[in-house]
């Protein structure tokens, strides 16, 4: 994409899935119009364009083995996402990606993995887990413990997939909600408390944390208390971005950029870079 750094690839929306009870989070499945899908890995992101409304970054929700299309899960937040939510199958949007660096899958080999997600940011963790459960990776990974919390049961993303993961032998799934309804049989507690109470083994573990700032802030000390070192805690950062390639200047954490040097950083790195994570 050399000559056309800022000219997006045209992508046709082939499917829109309404994910949650509040109907404000949709998953868009996109197929390229001309050209293929540039290779990507979980943790990377792309800039999606709605022509006339602009461009914004979203982590890939799909996994590289799911060929032919890519998926992004988008919450209606601002002007661009509102416009995107109005579009249905057949509409053409733009995509620039992949941008940023993926989760360090090599580092996960032979290690147990503690994955902690909250709210809508779970989308990039879905890509990670789906990738790790493929034949290529699962033999090499250790045990995966997944914590995922939302405000109430209607807000879980990818419900069908969560049901399948419940029975996957490589993965133990721990879901929680802030407030239950009559359908909910699981724990009602905040994500950091769930992690603390579950106390997964940490001797050989790497942790990945992705979620709203408050969840991250309270989960980090729990993980450290359980024994995960700051160099083994990975956090996927979010910042406002425009260019995605380290030029526009806004997403820096100290001297590094979330877009080109991240978005995944270790807690150790973050502590050296910024007060705000």
């Amino acid at each position: 994409m050399n000559r056309s750094l800022f000219v997006p690839q045209r992508m046709e929306i082939v499917k829109v899935t309404d994910e949650v009870a509040t109907h404000d989070i949709f998953t868009f499945e996109l197929a390229p119009l001309g050209g293929g899908i540039a290779p990507y890995l979980p943790g990377q992101f792309a800039e999606l364009s709605v022509f006339g409304a602009g461009e914004a970054p979203f982590g890939y929700a799909s996994s590289p083995h799911e060929t032919g299309t890519v998926r992004f899960t988008v919450k209606r937040m601002g002007a661009l996402t509102r416009e995107l939510h109005r579009l249905g199958p057949g509409a053409v949007v733009g995509m620039r990606g992949p941008l940023g660096n993926p989760f360090p899958l090599d580092r996960f080999e032979g290690r147990d993995l503690i994955v902690v997600g909250g709210g809508y940011a779970f989308t990039t963790l879905r890509s990670l887990i789906a990738t790790l459960l493929t034949d290529k990776h699962r033999k090499r990974a250790g045990r995966i413990t997944l914590f995922y919390g939302v405000r109430h049961p209607g807000l879980f993303l990818y419900k069908g997939e969560l049901d399948r993961w419940r029975t996957a032998k490589e993965l133990s799934l721990h879901l929680t909600v802030d407030a239950a309804d009559e359908t909910w049989k699981g724990p009602v507690k905040l994500v950091p408390d769930l992690v603390r109470d579950t106390a997964p083994a940490t001797e050989n573990a790497v942790a990945v944390v992705c979620g709203p700032p408050a969840m991250i802030r309270f989960t980090l000390p729990v993980l450290e208390t359980l024994g995960v070192g700051e160099e083994n805690i990975l956090i996927s950062m979010e910042r406002k971005m425009k260019c995605g390639v380290g030029m526009c200047g806004r997403c820096n954490l100290g001297p590094r950029f979330v877009c080109k040097d991240g978005p995944v950083f270790t807690l150790k790195e973050l502590r050296e870079l910024t007060d705000d994570y």
């Binding site: 750094l5 046709e12 602009g54 979010e238 806004r250």
Partner: protein, 350 residues
């Protein structure tokens, strides 16, 4: 006058012949010259409508405004049924000559290069202009009281970044051809020039010597190390107490190159443009959720100076300041970057 020791890389032009030379260049090249508009001089596409002004130091805007125009169309989009056609702008094949840039502005191009050409993918629009650029610089014979290029490791005669450097003497201009590109741009007009003789070159040297700075350059590595230690210094709050949070310092800075991207038009058709943005604006980093990692004025003021004197150096890029003094001249709140440098410059370096 006997001609001895004439130079084939230093040519002279009678001052009166400059307008004709510029007109000839403009006929075949994309030529930008400093000319006055509304009280300030800036680089404009060459024309006869306004006189040339080589006196205002520094011009209101730098070479940045030519290489990184504000706003700039990245592509046009036009919807056609469900599909959409995306058309980037046509490249311009001509040489791009910026005439009369001072040492500070020429030097700033290296800092712009680091951002626009130094990432994994070069910026296509910037690269397109940069590859056509022939920077015909002007030795700065009347630095302003707000100038401090010496302290930023340069000087009025610094030719780094220039393809040609012009030195104005009494009634002639001496053109020093510094690069192949500079030679190529001026070669077709060789017969308008004479080779500079030894006396002329002596005069140039004397003019240059008269402008050597008493002020030594800062040690940028030491400055970085010092600035880095002051993440929590209450000084940032003191500075921010007067800062209005406007974009003057960043927009007029020849180095500051932060931008934003937006669509102008509607769903049927329009343009995606990029435009100068500033770390001084709260909206620069404010996220859709409302969270703002640099939510207060001290954090934003600090970001500007940290970027210039810490992050750039740490990342092996040119320093974020070339000492042009535009921010000093125009800051309504009187914030003077020289004071900030002095505050953090370790004694050993001064």
């Amino acid at each position: 006058m006997t001609r001895t020791n004439t130079s084939d890389r230093s040519w002279t032009l009678p001052a009166g012949a400059l307008p004709d030379l510029l007109a000839a260049l403009a006929a075949t090249c994309e030529l930008w010259t400093p000319r006055p508009v509304g009280g300030g001089t800036r680089f404009l596409p060459h024309g006869e409508d306004r006189p040339l002004d080589l006196a205002q130091t520094p011009p209101a805007h730098s070479v940045k405004a030519v290489l990184f125009p504000n706003p700039e169309t990245l592509f046009t989009y036009r919807r056609n049924g469900n599909d959409v056609a995306l058309t980037p702008p046509e490249p311009d094949g001509r040489s791009l000559i910026v005439f009369g840039a001072r040492a500070c502005d020429a030097r700033a191009v290296a800092a712009l290069d680091a951002v626009f050409l130094g990432r994994s993918i070069p910026d296509p629009a910037y690269l397109e202009r940069r590859e056509r650029l022939c920077l015909v610089g002007l030795a700065c014979v009347s630095p302003a009281a707000t100038c401090f290029c010496h302290r930023m490791g340069s000087g009025p005669f610094d030719a780094s970044g220039m393809d040609v450097q012009i030195v104005p003497l009494d009634d002639i201009y001496v053109f020093h051809l510094l690069t192949k590109r500079g030679e190529a741009c001026l070669a077709p007009f060789r017969d308008r020039f004479e080779a500079a003789d030894g006396d002329t070159l002596k005069k140039v040297a004397a003019t240059k010597a008269g402008l050597e700075g008493a002020e030594p350059s800062v040690d940028f590595t030491a400055l970085k190390d010092a600035v880095k230690q002051h993440r929590d210094d209450p000084y940032w709050e003191t500075l921010a107490a007067a800062c209005l949070g406007c974009g003057i310092c960043t927009f007029l800075c020849p180095v500051c190159s932060c931008f934003s991207i937006t669509d102008t038009g509607n769903r049927r058709g329009g343009r995606r443009v990029r435009y100068w943005d500033a770390c001084m604006f709260p909206a620069f980093t404010k996220e859709a959720s409302g969270h703002n990692p640099r939510g207060d004025e001290p954090a934003r003021v600090k970001q500007r100076f940290f970027h210039k004197f810490y992050y750039s150096i740490e990342n092996g890029e040119p320093p974020g300041c070339v000492g042009c003094g535009r921010c000093v001249i125009h800051c309504p709140a009187g914030i003077d970057i020289r004071e900030i440098v002095s505050r953090f410059q370790p004694e050993a370096a001064s």
